[in-house]
Assembly symmetry: C2
Homo-oligomer: 741 residues x 2
């Protein structure tokens, strides 16, 4: 057994710190008062709904996990075409991700009434409470990822036998990567299920409540209002947590594998290259904690000052990680490598961070009502429903250009910086490592960026609670201010979520090729695999195979690759369509139910009768459970089927098609939805006729269409592109040994 | 000079036949009466509007062509990085395509009033008149393509000097391919300009006329109605003609080049492989003429019988081409080749034909109100505007899965059939030739399929004329029956248009690599090109370069390729967004104008005042001219810029990204739009509340949103994917010699 370097222990230490502070913030939040009896009652309603949903969801996901684990065990132990650790890694990844979602959501449901209550006395107090509660989520996510990474690294370091130069670390990192598959699977169910839940409730509440009955969104007379508030928690908090859990894990693990592969020739540097992404994440986590404490406001601060103080926390973490990551690279001896340049690797980290910020800012530009695009959409509401939709779709499509361009620049620069500006075959692995390290850089301060993100739904729910509890309008005003602030920070958060998904998926894709090589070596050692005579006799040289893979199989004139790319695009469009239709179907049920209640329960509209909230909650829950299965299973099994038919070339094509078109589609949907939402708010502020005008009605149509765009289909695509890559990585043995073509 | 084989002369002969019959049908159509004075007046209005639009459009396009020709001349004669024939080929391609559009539109504008007048006496007569007028368009398109192909082949055969084995034909076919660039450029302007024109008018007419003023679409009181009818001609007739002109040309020329490349080793077979696509197209054209004459109906036939007789004509041409193409291949000696199997090549042709039919049928399923998807969209109108949009978007996205799967199967089978089921490097070229031949097979009977397609807008306009001339409602009923028939055949037509665009673009992509090789040879002969030292010393072997291109540059782990694919997706989304927004902006202007006229011109609504039709026509014209520039130029120049920065690998990535995501996006938009349209019609038939109900209003919103989807952005994408490939082919020298990376 080899000793682990001392620096490594920073990783478990930082995870313990993150979890410790999360617990501290959580306990501190609980000490606050939940307010009046009505507030407590409503919060309890929401909490109950959210818990019962999550319990239901985890039950279903648990069953799916059982089945997949059985399949993986057959692949690993029966057919011998999979790493033996996969079934276990899969399970830990899934359960840690589920835990993160659970803690985050629990915190959020406890925090919202408290935030509303705090807003009764001061804006400042409520900001801090909401933000610190969001920080619980952020820290739990990064803490659990880092603890899982540390534990597996320690265990595998003991369990994997020593091997010839560099093969041990390659095996360890390749094995660890599969733990991301569990996280991805659980994340997809969380995002899709949560997304359908929240939007079925939201669309239902809007369509009947706002448009037909003319009562506000969070009015207690609206039967779907509790379901709507529950939805914010299960969709925006638990779903987003699981999403970023797996980006964080995926980027660290893929980069570690790429590092192990790139530095195979230099055993000492190899360990350092593997440690680099872990250490950057660990130090970034500590800096996030520091940044969270930096978010302080003076009593009576203006909204601008509030935003400034939030940004200060985020920016100081980001700035410091730039400094510290150079120190880490120096400590890891990158300045002594003959090919790789320490400034190059550091440059890749910086590029990743900048790309995340850039994507966030473009999201902000295309979706905030302060800028032209959203203003134009609002104006188009004057000519009716159709033109609002046309201009929203048009703007959403155009808005993809900036993030796509940023990703192109980020890929090229992070590759070139790390490969020392060389495209030569021998520099390829360094360049790919650079792309991975850029993803890690982008996500390094996830602890605090996620905090600013999770804070949004808490503020939103606080507003809902204030409205339903009929608190002083001043309270609602304050929570609205918090909510608006949340929308701004959420834009950046979304930029990080989707940008990191793309870079992580690319790093995973590069790792896939490493897994192919390793699987081939494994199979070459097993004489019973003839592999269809594709690679010549079984005694064929390793070099021949590499040659084969790189030189023929994955070149772009290979019809198998073309077919794979087409199927990848197919998957993205099909998946988006399925989730859109799921929301449509579920929302229609909700509309029917709300209409029924308004008709059958006397006195609802007048506020004298009590609506049957539970029914709406249960409709959303059931619809989400039923509807999430098909799209999620499609995502998991498409790569397996493509691998079995088209082989490795087909799978690589599939993944490229999925990543590129999925990224664009995700941004289109997120931005169109966000812009419609804010165009509506802009009109509500009194422009183009204001509330109740025809323009407002048209804008509500836009907002309602945008709901599944931005909160169901769009964010689910983030995970789709990672999960399909993960699923390919884990089932690589099937594609290598059993493919038909 | 080498003699051309006797069989070749079938090509010019068939083109003369096609043009002759087109002229015959045209003259015969003109002999029919145009009806009452009002009918004549309205037809003259529409004709004048269409002509003035086309004149305006061609003026602008002419300027663009001049500029591009200058650029090409500099590339060819100044920098020496382009074939010397390109500027001329570019100009003929463009002008022949423009001619085809002009003749088709002229015929359509003369035919519609005559069709309406014929409908006053019998349904049968009007069907025949409309269909034969559509046939003029179909035959002009194929005739002009074939005459251009023949002339260039004859000229180049004389002009290109004899060269070592096979190089002469390679040079000829590579040169001829560039003539497609002119056709593509003109087609894109026609589609985008025409699409914006027609939808600005349509949306404007619908929004104010139907929804606000409550008058029918083709009511003479609606100021936008003439513009709307003009739009059908410039968008659906001239635009579609140019689109298929270039698919037909592109597929023949690309396949000829791939044939020349694949059979380089066997000079005699090489000529045959080059002739095969031309001959299949020539014979298919003659069979189309035969099929057109087979479309006969008995007096008093039911609509089902009408459809049957149309389908009979199309099917008999398709069936016969299967038989004849085998005979052609036999005559061309394919049964004597040692590697390629004649049944395999024939199988590729059959696959192409079947794929076209399959895509057409899936379009029919997803957009016709007889099937579940459209019925569901209609039902969702009950819950309002937003759910109609959500379910239309969802269904449209899902509907892409079938055509994408068909294309995947078609690619794989046509490749494997022609490569004799081998993926080996030496079979690659045969397989790619198979993909090209499948595209040719799909389009071989274009003469008649385009006739059934162009017939639709003629029937539509006839209906408009009948309505505006206040003819007996029975006449409108008959033209509506024709129109409904047209919608069914149009579904198949659209399937062919888009399916052929995808296959043609793939064949063009494969040709691109051949052009790269040739350009490299050319540059190797020119000592002043050092090509950035990329390929080693200038004396580097040709083999090394092939190795380089196939083995490193275009493999999928190359970041340049990845970047290219991302940019390709970017291009598709950006272009779609730009064209959507163009329609939105233009429609808004139209809405304002129509509202103004209703307010300022007294007595319009009562029918006592005359609306100012000209103003609306001129608004659409100006808007289309202005708005078409940016998206079209983007499409032309993106490949050039990518080539200059990222080199060949980047361009290939770009093209793959564009083709795959563009194909999916085009189908999504076409099908969503079609389904919304028919869902509205279904409601108008009395379902879900019928005309005037809230559901109907919601469905009109869907239809209006669908207008730019299905008639502007969607079909323009067909051309985008071909034009970007063409633009890459023509500027290949820049990417090879001057790229930065």
């Amino acid at each position: 057994m080899s000793e682990l370097p001392l620096l490594f222990w920073l990783v478990p230490v930082s995870s313990v710190l993150a979890l410790g502070f999360a617990f501290f913030f959580y306990k501190k939040m609980l000490r606050n008062d939940e307010g009046t009896d009505t507030m407590k009652r409503i919060a309890a309603h929401v909490r109950k709904g959210a818990n019962s949903y999550l319990r239901q969801q985890y039950k279903v996901v648990f069953l799916v996990f059982l089945i997949i684990t059985v399949i993986f065990s057959i692949l690993a132990y029966g057919l011998g075409v999979q790493n033996e650790w996969v079934p276990f890694a899969f399970l830990t990844g899934g359960s840690f991700s589920a835990l993160a979602g659970y803690f985050g959501m629990k915190t959020a449901t406890f925090a919202s009434a408290r935030t509303a209550h705090a807003a009764r006395s001061s804006l400042d107090k409520s900001l801090k409470l909401a933000f610190r509660s969001g920080a619980v989520m952020g820290l739990v996510v990064v803490g659990l990822v880092l603890i899982d990474v540390s534990l597996w690294f320690i265990v595998l370091n003991l369990a994997v036998p020593e091997a010839e130069a560099g093969f041990k670390l390659l095996t360890i990192t390749a094995t660890m990567l599969t733990f991301g598959m569990g996280a991805s699977t659980q994340a997809l169910f969380a995002r899709v299920g949560g997304g359908i839940y929240t939007k079925a409730a939201d669309v239902g509440a809007d369509l009947v409540g706002k448009i037909e009955a003319g009562i506000p969104e969070d009015d207690p007379r609206n039967p779907a209002t509790i379901a709507d508030n529950v939805g914010d928690n299960v969709g925006d908090v638990a779903g987003m947590g699981a999403d970023l859990f797996e980006s964080f894990a995926g980027s660290i693990l893929a980069t570690a594998l790429l590092g192990a592969a790139a530095f195979m020739g230099a055993p000492e540097m190899q360990m350092n290259a593997v440690l680099a992404p872990m250490l950057i994440a660990a130090v970034g986590t500590m800096l996030s904690i520091f940044g969270i404490f930096m978010v302080r406001t003076k009593e009576g601060a203006s909204q601008k000052q509030l935003l400034k103080s939030l940004s200060f926390g985020v920016n100081i973490s980001a700035g410091l990680i730039l400094v510290f990551s150079f120190l880490i690279l120096y400590a890891l001896n990158f300045h002594n490598h003959e090919v790789v340049n320490i400034w190059g690797i550091w440059g890749s980290i910086a590029i990743g961070l900048l790309a995340g910020i850039g994507i966030g800012q473009s999201t902000e530009y295309f979706t905030a009502s302060a800028y032209k695009p959203t203003k134009k959409i609002a104006k188009s509401a004057e000519t009716g429903h159709a033109t609002v939709i046309i201009s929203g779709v048009g703007t959403g499509l155009i808005s993809t250009a900036v993030p796509l361009a940023i990703i192109v620049v980020a890929i090229m620069l992070s590759f070139l910086f790390s490969s020392n500006f060389s495209f030569a075959a021998e520099s390829l692995n360094y360049g790919l490592y650079g792309i991975g390290i850029a993803a890690v850089g982008m996500l390094s301060t996830l602890g605090i960026t996620l905090a600013t993100d999770a804070y949004g739904p808490i503020a939103d729910n606080a507003g809902g609670n204030a409205e339903m509890s009929k608190l002083d309008p001043k309270v609602r005003e304050r929570t609205d201010a918090l909510d608006a602030l949340g929308n701004t920070t959420a834009a950046t958060g979304k930029g990080f979520a989707i940008g990191s998904a793309a870079l992580t998926a690319l790093a995973l894709l590069a790792s896939y090729m490493e897994e192919v090589k390793m699987m081939f070596v494994k199979i070459l050692d097993t004489p019973e695999f003839i592999i269809h005579g594709k690679f010549g006799p079984v005694e064929a040289q390793y070099a021949t195979f590499i040659d084969y893979i790189y030189h023929f199989e994955i070149h772009l004139m290979n019809p198998v690759v073309l077919a794979g790319i087409f199927i990848g695009v197919l998957g993205v469009f099909l998946f988006s369509g399925m989730t859109m239709n799921s929301v449509g179907r579920a929302a229609q049920k909700m509309v029917d139910e709300v209409r029924r209640q308004f008709k059958e329960i006397p006195g609802i509209k007048e506020g004298t009768g009590t609506p049957d909230y539970e029914r709406c909650v249960s409709i959303s829950t059931k619809a989400a459970q039923r509807e999430m299965m098909l799209p999620s299973l499609t995502a998991i099994f498409i790569p397996v089927i493509v691998g079995l038919i088209f082989g490795v070339g087909g799978v690589v094509g599939l993944l490229i098609g999925t990543i590129t078109s999925g990224f664009a589609m995700a941004i289109f949907m997120a931005n169109a939805g966000g812009a419609w939402d804010n165009a509506k708010k802009y009109i509500e502020e009194g422009h183009h006729g204001g509330k109740g005008s025809d323009s407002h009605n048209a804008a509500i149509t836009g907002d309602t269409v945008g709901d599944p765009f931005k909160d169901t289909s769009g964010p689910s695509l983030n995970i789709l592109i990672k999960l399909m890559t993960m699923s390919s990585v884990v089932t690589v043995g099937l594609a290598v040994a059993y493919s038909i073509l």
